[in-house]
Amino acid sequence: MIANFGYGVLVITFLITLYSVFAAVYGERRQIPALVESARRAMLLTWPMLSLTSAVLIYLLVNNHYEVEFVYQVTSRSMPMYLKITAWWGGQAGSILFWSWLMAAFASLVTLRKWDRDREFLPWVIVVACITMAFFIGMNVFFENPFAQFYQTFDGIASYTLKPADSVLFTPPDGNGLNPLLRHPGMIIHPPMLYLGFVSFVIPYAFAMAALITGRTDDRWIRLTRRWTLWAWLFLSFGLVLGGRWAYDVLGWGGYWGWDAVEVAAFNPWLIGTAFLHSVMIQEKRGMFKQWNMILIIFTYCTVIYGTFVTRSGLLSSVHSFAQSPIGPVFLGYVGLTFISSVALLIYRWDKLKSENQLTSLLSREALFLLNNLLFLAIFVICFWGMNYSWISELITGQTATMGPPYYERAVTPLFGTLLLLMGVAPLSAWGHSTLQTLGRALWKPAAGAVIITVLLYFTYTQKPGALLGFFMIAFVLLVTIYEYWRGADARQRSQSENIFTAFWNLTGRNRRRYGGYIIHISMMLMAIGILGIEIFQVETQGTLEQGQSLSVGNYELTFRDIAQWDDAPSGVNYRRAVLDVYQDGKYLGQLAPRIDYYYESQQNMTIPGQRATMKDDLYVLLVDWEPVAASGATFKVYINPLVNWLWLGSFLFLAGISIAAWPEKEAERVAVRVRTGVPQKQTSAAD
């Protein structure tokens, strides 16, 4: 009964979104403000409605209603309460509902803002947001009903949305339980973060489409959505980092990123979104690249939907293949339609999106930003091709192929290297004009510092040319950024008589976007140190040890002390846990305890590493194999992952940087659209 209620609310919400689209379009066309207002209120209603649907689903999950197919698939009696709640997004139908719920929240937030000055955008923002929502809710209503229940008929037991004739409700005694891989804290937060990133990119897209439809093609839509874009980027980045941490802790690969097709699917919108974030600055500053920004936001939206499609449709099977279902063609149709209609709109308004200014120097900041865009797009092309290669190969040759890390690493490394270099040069180039001379003057000190650091590293750390080149570029960008930051703080310290810390604080507060951006650049370099460390210096070995025997790797020695096996009956898990003593250069450091957790319900192993983390390196030990029957020894795989913790440190700083850049500024809404001339005008605020 309660499941039917949940489904009923879902159907009504679907109808509300359709009404909202219709009312917005009709109201705008016929100039009936009351109808547009009705559409706005209808959109505002979607979030409470979807919250109610979700509450019903959570009620069913928490109270073991295994007659509901979705509840049966993702929960079991042995699961703790918090996992039963988070199982909401642990399976196909629930995760689509979760997507819609987040989308509704964001759409409601948009409708709550003051629309006095941008009344003409409102109906079209409603249309785009509600079409997106209607699509996802429609997925739940017609294909992936989270409230479908098991019924026993003459033909057997199957799940149905509505009770078939001559059937009885069937309730299994227990559920399948959530995939053990998804029970990690990182995996509990990772999907919501990615989804938040995905749905919040819908908002700038909705405004962009509104700008195209209304013909108001100045940079107003960009200014209105600047913060949405930054928050979207924050969530998406955080989601990707959490996914990486989850892979590192749970998948037992010894790494954080396996270039799995589903990872790449989430990485694609990030790449285009990052290009967009940089590119919009050019439009705001110089009134240029308007068409380009439109292309980028259309691509971002389409990669978001396409990314969701490939992970949901089972087009690419992977570790995330729990998400397979027959909804692929509908998704593909939607992506195709939105892409074609967006591009058609763009072509229709192409002439209105002409640049107000011209490029005056190939070394100006706008030119370098454009190069940055090209690099991000090149990486996107590589990733997009790699992600889709498997099914394209199957389509053409009849054979599926795997596009694994060797392809990606070979193809994207030089591009990321160039991006790094650009990250060092671009902040020092000026808008409009820059010459080799001015750039050289600004760059020589950090470049000299980077050379000194590289030489020091050559004598103390590594002689590998690739690593040294990488460290040089990282040092260069770090020094450029820190130098720029310091110059600003120093000037402020002198002029305002502040101490250096207050000067740093106030400087950042006064120009959050610029200095938030600098913090992001610094954090990127810390992350690059971690990536360089694990990619170039990772060492691994594997061996079978009897108790008391040792295994050496690098300057570490591990002695196998003990192993134990026990059942945790309430949670349905069997644990095998080994204990190893760890020595470094003969000095005892402590013990590590890698485990294999076997989940009886899903008959699945999880390999939990024993880790010892320092900023210098991570010692990462996996228990690969141990059979109690022939317990003569256990097999261990040991990795030394140098510098990898810089990656996690960098990601924290990264989040701080984006938060600073995205934090609302008091005067943000009061910034008027400037009338531009060929030369950029002086601003009263230093905000860029």
Partner: protein
């Protein structure tokens, strides 16, 4: 058995020795590759090859770290083949013949793998170049941009910063 047909003790020893030598020679000939390979291949030698492969069932989990029983059997097979003296390429070819190219971490035909993204990127770069030409002022396209005198004050923020710094000096 009559005494007549009873072999002499010394002859028995000779026959035995000859027979043993023959077996030893046969063994040497048969198992030459194994002996050439030396002791049983280590886990690291097996993993070096397994790292470049994926089993069709556990797609996207590299073979060297996949915890399933099937993948363990594959690794054992690699070990056996290494012990038989097979090269890395031969082992990979064996798996490709059995299960298709999907077992390899990278498709064998690199031309098609890299050609299409390269063409796409080059096209993008060409478009960008065209964009640069279009967006540049006519005077600038004639090659005066780089020689233009430094005007760091173009960025108002940098200009203000420079002014502040100058004042302090």
């Amino acid at each position: 058995m009559s005494e007549l047909f009873k072999p002499e003790p010394s002859r028995i020893t000779t026959y035995k020795l000859l027979f043993a030598a023959l077996i030893a020679l046969t063994l040497v000939l048969i198992s030459r590759p194994t002996l050439a390979q030396g002791p049983t291949p280590t886990d690291d030698e097996v993993n070096r090859i397994a790292k470049q492969m994926y089993c069709p069932v556990c797609e996207n989990t590299p073979l060297d770290v996949c915890p399933t029983e099937a993948c363990r059997q594959w690794r054992d097979l690699i070990r056996t083949m290494l012990a038989e003296g097979k090269s890395e390429e031969e082992i990979k070819q064996y798996f490709v013949a059995q299960y298709g190219i999907r077992v390899l971490a990278e498709p064998p035909n690199r031309l098609t793998t890299y050609l299409i993204p390269t063409i796409a990127i080059l096209l993008g770069a060409l478009l960008l170049l065209r964009g640069f030409q279009m967006w540049m002022k006519p005077s600038v396209t004639q090659g005066t941009a780089v020689e233009t005198e430094a005007r760091p004050g173009q960025d108002p923020y940098i200009a203000r910063l420079e002014e502040e710094l100058k004042k302090q000096k």
